[in-house]
Amino acid sequence: MQPFFGDQWVRLDRLTDAAHCLRLADRHKAEMTLDDLERAFPQVFIAFYFGALPSALNPQEVAFWLLNNGAFSTPQISKRNEYGVVCVIDPAGGIVGTAIGYALESLLPETAPAAILQSMIPALGHAEYGSAIEAAATSVSDLLRPLAVARPITQSLTPGPHAGASAADYGLHPLRSGHRQTDPTPAPTRQKR
């Protein structure tokens, strides 16, 4: 894959319609479906790519490369690609493939990718791509819910009693939180000879 696409990172949305096959209503509906999924599973996201693929590549390989080299613009940037599911659909070629990250691979059975595709095929056969997205999201949700632990979402309009320690307590998550902290100690001054 690297000789074909290279090893550069690419920026993608959750819905990338390079084939221009999604209608506006379907796109809005699919966005709402994906929002619900990501609200229910804060760690997980699904990305869809619609476009014509080179004949030498199958959609599973393209999904594998996108998952390893893509920066997906999800509402929560902190989501890790290990919990991602990427679906690649070639409307012209009539093929569809999917790839899942390491975290989901460790939880889901081996038949899970095939099950996700099977849920999409009826809608894709009728060129109803919005319905295919909803079917895939529903399938992933049904597969993951038995494996997850339910926790109530606590949304408070006022800061908690322990708020004030950091900006994250107020919902301000720094983009470079994973970077190495700068050394607060001053650099040693060079002594003049």
Binding site: D36, R39, A40, F41, P42, Q43, V44, N58, P59, Q60, E61, A63, F64, L67, N68, R80, N81, E82, Y83, G84, G94, I95, V96, G97, T98, A99, I100, G101, Y102, A103, L104, E105, S106, L107, E110, P113, A114, I116, L117, M120, I121, L124, G125, L144, R145, L147, A148, V149, A150, R151, P152, I153
Partner: protein, 392 residues
């Protein structure tokens, strides 16, 4: 000349005597002075006196209301100009002399002894007789009723009503018998008596009741709610139960509007007479050719809910079931309504369940456990696990 001489002397004497006469008149006025009225001497009208009812002095004093004979009087002597009665719309209870009469406070002008002399003693309020205290009329009473002449429509062998009312009622009943189709016989009972269950009303009034269709009213004095009305079978069957019930209730209500026992009976009869005129309009006319040679007259009692004499008798007012249609159609309608109700309930339940589920999903987050897998195929986030297929 002799007469001419004393004339100046007489004139002088008369002139001198005139001031003396005036002086004598003034002295008489000083001896018998007129009463001097001061503002504080006016009689004070107490509230008790003001609330007193007019005394029965209508025969002694001129009428307080304009009567038929007052038109001949001069304007200055007519009662309304003398006492200036306040012609207002008073209730019947406060105006025994008629509408527009307001009781005048005669105690302001007349001594108290004169006012109280003609007042009849107030009758004590009647206590309703308990059902257990009621007794049947005796055989002597029935014998007197049976021996009463057929022409006497008011049968009061015990003389329970006053002579004045008796005369009024007799004239009233005779007038009713002349004008109405069903004459009305009234049997006056004591307040603690009732007709026996096996009484033969046809034998009363020397058989006058059996000769032609008549209405018979058994009226216990002072207890109009226990009055029993017997109508000819023709009239009874022609009228509806609601009409007969309303007839009795209206008569009782009219009688109860007065506290006086005689007035109760009078009002009861007047109302009943009016209702009997209405009733006869509901009865079919009997042709002469169809009339049998021997008339079969029978009486049927009007029974209402409030004055049912005996529970053993079958009440005339029965609850009729609603009209029934096709039973199959009723079952079909019932099943359709039942299915509609079930469908509506299921639809509403599913809608509520979906809403609650969606609301619950919005409040619940599903957290997956974190596990580390060794990297494969050089992938930092995915090892190539997936699938692909053709959908066309």
């Amino acid at each position: 000349m002799a007469l001419k001489r004393p004339t100046p002397i007489l004139i002088a004497l008369l002139i001198c005597a005139a001031p003396l006469g005036a002086v004598a008149q003034l002295s008489e006025e000083e001896i018998l002075p007129l009463p001097q009225w001061q503002p504080g001497d006016a009689p004070m009208a107490s509230p008790e006196i003001s609330n007193m009812q007019p005394p029965p002095l209508l025969g002694l004093l001129p009428s307080l209301t304009p009567g038929p004979g007052d038109s001949n009087l001069s304007p200055t002597t007519r009662p309304d100009t003398i006492l200036t009665p306040l012609l207002t719309q008073d209730s019947a209870e406060n105006s025994p002399a008629g509408v527009g009469y307001r009781p005048a406070n005669l105690s302001t002008f007349l001594p108290e002894s004169l006012l109280d002399s003609g007042r009849p003693p107030a009758a004590p309020p009647h206590t309703p007789t308990a059902a257990s205290m009621l007794k049947d009329v005796d055989a002597e009473f029935l014998k007197l009723c049976n021996g009463s002449p057929a022409s006497e429509l008011l049968i009061d062998p015990l003389g329970l009503i006053t002579e004045v009312l008796q005369g009024d009622l007799e004239r009233f009943l005779n007038f009713h018998a002349q004008e109405a189709r069903f004459p009305l016989y009234i049997v006056v009972l004591k307040s603690d008596e009732k007709l026996p269950a096996d009484i033969d009303l046809m034998a009363m009034a020397s058989g006058g009741i059996a000769k032609k269709p008549t209405a018979v009213l058994a009226y216990p004095i002072a207890e109009p709610w226990r009055a029993r009305l017997f109508l000819p079978k023709l009239a009874h069957d022609s009228a509806s139960n609601s009409f007969l019930k309303e007839l009795l209730e209206a008569c009782v209500k009219e009688a109860m509007s007065s506290p006086e026992t005689d007035e109760q009976l009078h009002r009861f009869c007047v109302e009943l007479s009016t209702r009997l005129f209405w009733l006869e309009k509901l009865c079919p006319a009997v042709r002469v050719a169809e009339k049998p040679a021997v008339p079969t007259v029978s009486l049927q009692e009007v029974v209402s809910k409030d004055s049912a004499p005996a529970p053993s008798q079958t009440p005339l007012i029965t609850v009729t079931p609603p009209p029934t249609g096709d039973p199959v159609l009723r079952w079909v309608v019932f099943i359709l309504c039942l299915l509609a109700a079930i469908g509506t309930t299921v639809w509403h339940g599913m809608r509520t369940w979906r809403k609650s589920k969606a609301r619950q999903q919005l409040k619940t987050a599903w957290i997956l456990p974190e596990r580390d897998l060794p990297q494969r195929l050089g992938g930092a986030f995915s090892g190539g696990t997936g699938a692909w297929t053709r959908f066309r």
